[in-house]
Symmetry: C2
Subunit: 355 residues, 2 copies
């Protein structure tokens, strides 16, 4: 018995325009999502679009400004207080909405989120998640671009956040976690990755931490949560998208190259439809800004209605779950244990030195 | 009018065993490669395999030892001087062979190559190449695992080596070169990547340097040569392989799921054969160790005969080309210009300070 809750939707973010955003919310509602939608944007434009969809529960909040894709985050913080992005985030900050969805400029959205929501206690830096399909379901990869570098402590925090996120989204009790690394025996990664692995092993015995994974493990689904810095994660995600698109293009060629191929394709139409859906990136749309003190989902700027619906559903799944409290308490436990270990080690050394 | 030249083949390296190696060399020879093959390994085992293939020009050199996949590089350097890998490399070091191909342990092969061949003048660290298919042909990515980190100077050297390698292998006069980076406006990569880009722009005006590329550009073929550090390159390559395999698995499902699908697949058999060949990794087998003073091609340990043939053909293409001399002279030019720029800047500053 869930009461309907409120989602703040930045209707003006994204290259595809407000129609795709409204359509996406309507699509999610039609599929059973029982939420109240607050659409932020140009009221004149939005009114007919929203009216056409017969939402059971939706309101429009006028915002005169729009954050452009090229706006610098600092510019938006200083001069963007009349934008749909700013007002939508504010609805979460004020507690009116449980989550916000925006297809706007990532850097600006991150800056506005940090400014208005602040960070979860104990988390130094936010991380952006991405979902990736696997034969077993889905894997979450983080960070895919909030920070170009991450030290040992931040990787540990990403692991804790990613694990709690996966649990909240997928309803899995003990998601498995791996640290992205390279495989060759003699170059097992940077020292800081090894250090992060040590902390996770020693200080978080509750986590199903599986050690190091390699790039190919992302698509295999070897672990539920793949942890890395934002540079490596961004490269990996985009490389995987590129490779999937390349193979998809080859498949299309094979299916349409000749008349015989076209006839053959008719026979396998249901299988091909499923294949197309699987390759379709919209089912994985929605990057969550973990670490900020509120639910912020970044929808792809060019997402169609189905893609927006995925992002809206993701926001809804997270909104009801107390995962931010879990993150805060786990981070505290792990950091306390880590400090305790460090003190123990220092005491041992002092004892040895005194002998 | 090319005279046949000699290739040293470590016949014992690789998990697939010597049969796949001999078969691969025979496959390359049957397709027109006019080379003399020197097979290094257990003579008793190799004799019947080589005899069965009727090579026009092949010899066996006995080696009693084999480098195991788990051997540490240091161990091989100290105690591995009776192995097929060591002897095969020695044939290149002594000038008897023009290139060596091995499917053995990457770390050991790199250590043996550096020890016996030394480095090209001006190159600090070696880099390993990988070929990746694109709609336009192929892209080379380097480094994919020789070093977990690379500073600005090394990235510049990798770019120079990768460009010369692509020219030698693909017979392209002015290959385009890009530095792998992340795209989001506010986190345009590490400072050292930006510094490497500056050096390439200023100090190597002959190179068709296209600036930054992103992960998806690898499979698109946006540039011919993608330059990155060994950690990022290794993750990107393996992630791409994983994603391609995932989509390949979906395609297989779509083609074999139902009786109708199987009938359909018959109609499109030629297109599917081509698709299968394209997804087949063996056509891209062969990682070259750039920077060492000789041609060393690492074949995948599990490569089949076709894969080994690709690696052997790659070794042959490079062996005839003076690309190491090109690398040495370009590196010298670029580093000299860079020093000249630095001196200019220092003089300017001194002048300003004196005013």
């Amino acid at each position: 018995m869930n009461e309907p809750f409120t989602l703040a939707i930045d209707a003006m973010g994204g290259d595809a325009g407000p129609q795709a955003v409204i359509d996406g919310a309507a699509h999610a509602a039609a599929k059973g999502l029982d939420a109240r939608f607050l659409f932020f944007g140009d009221a004149e434009k939005l009114k007919p679009m929203v009216a056409a969809k017969n939402f059971r529960n939706a309101d429009i909040r006028h915002a005169s400004g729009v954050v452009a894709m090229t706006d610098k985050p600092m510019h938006v913080l200083r001069r963007g207080r009349e934008t749909s992005m700013w007002f939508a985030m504010n609805a979460v900050a004020e507690g009116e909405a449980m989550a916000v969805v925006s297809g706007g400029n990532t850097g600006a959205l991150m800056a506005v989120a940090r400014k208005q929501l602040g960070m979860i206690e104990g988390i130094d830096r936010p991380a952006i998640t991405a979902l990736w399909p696997t034969p077993r379901g889905r894997t979450v990869v983080l960070d895919v671009g909030a920070n170009v570098e991450a030290d040992e402590k931040q990787l540990v925090q990403f692991a804790i956040m990613g694990e709690a996120f996966f649990r909240a989204l997928m309803d899995v009790k003990r998601p498995t976690v791996g640290l992205l690394n390279v495989g060759a025996e003699d170059l097992k990664g940077h020292e800081l990755i090894r250090a992060a692995a040590r902390v996770l092993r020693e200080a978080d015995p509750d986590m199903a931490f599986k050690g190091f994974v390699e790039g190919n493990d992302i698509s295999k689904g070897t672990v539920d949560v793949v942890v890395t810095d934002g540079f490596t994660g961004n490269v990996a995600l985009k490389t995987a998208e590129g490779a999937a698109r390349l193979v998809g293009g080859w498949v299309r060629e094979a299916l349409t190259g000749t008349l015989n191929a076209k006839i053959g394709a008719l026979f396998m139409a249901p299988g091909l439809k499923k294949l197309k859906d699987r390759i379709d990136p919209s089912s994985n749309n929605g990057g969550v800004f973990l670490g900020v003190n509120g639910i912020v989902v970044k929808s792809h700027g060019g997402a169609d209605a189905r893609g927006v619906a995925s992002a809206v559903n993701m926001a809804a799944s997270l909104a009801r779950h107390p995962f931010r409290d879990e993150v805060a308490s786990t981070v505290k436990t792990v950091m306390d244990r880590r400090r305790a270990f460090a003190t123990q080690e220092a005491n041992k050394e002092a004892t040895v030195a005194a002998l």
